[in-house]
Symmetry: C2
């Protein structure tokens, strides 16, 4: 005999698993784009963080969360969680670039307008 | 004159913003489902955490992350981050139920594995 509670739990868990797969794929794509942002900034000597941009992102996500009935505090925590990982990636990429090619890095820093070389 | 670097940065940021909106909406939907799971478990006196289910979720997400070229460590941290929020919701819902019905609460407490078993 089928337990209706177990059946309902299984149905809900399958939906959670589908969403988690979608979340992981979206996050993978988001990191690909922030990697491009990091490379662009490094190539043009732009600062890694823009407090104004970050404040706008937080405001926007909190508003979207409210519309979607998600706790805006959680949305902000989530963005901070993801951004912390992005910063970690950028720092790792920067220290690799510095050791690989400190001359190119310095010329970028001085304002050289070169195309970013993407791996 | 348009600065091509600023233009490229804007283009990339618009994609990040689109993905963040999608992430927030998916997370909102995921919490709606975990809320149903929490209610179902509470209604039937089931324990709030299943270590085996959680281990399977981690394994699955790590494999999906590798396929998507996302750091599996990050995927695991992400799941833990979301699950911590789910546990917080369930605990809040439970304490609300307690004030309504302390007898039901005590029966959960006696068989419940309160802490998620993951670090």
């Amino acid at each position: 005999m089928v337990d209706p509670v177990a059946e309902e739990l299984l149905r809900l868990r399958m939906s959670i698993d589908n969403m988690d797969a979608a979340l992981v794929h979206l996050l993978a794509e988001r990191f690909k784009i922030t990697q491009q942002v990091g490379e662009l900034k490094a190539a043009h000597g732009l600062p890694p963080a823009y407090p104004l941009r970050e404040a706008q992102q937080i405001e926007r996500l909190r508003a979207l969360a409210e519309e979607a009935r998600l706790d805006p505090e959680f949305a902000e925590k989530f963005l901070n969680f993801v951004v912390a990982e992005v910063v970690r990636h950028h720092e790792a990429a920067r220290s690799q670039n510095t050791s690989r090619d400190s001359k190119a890095y310095l010329s970028h820093q001085n304002g050289a307008n070169e195309k970013p070389s993407r791996p």
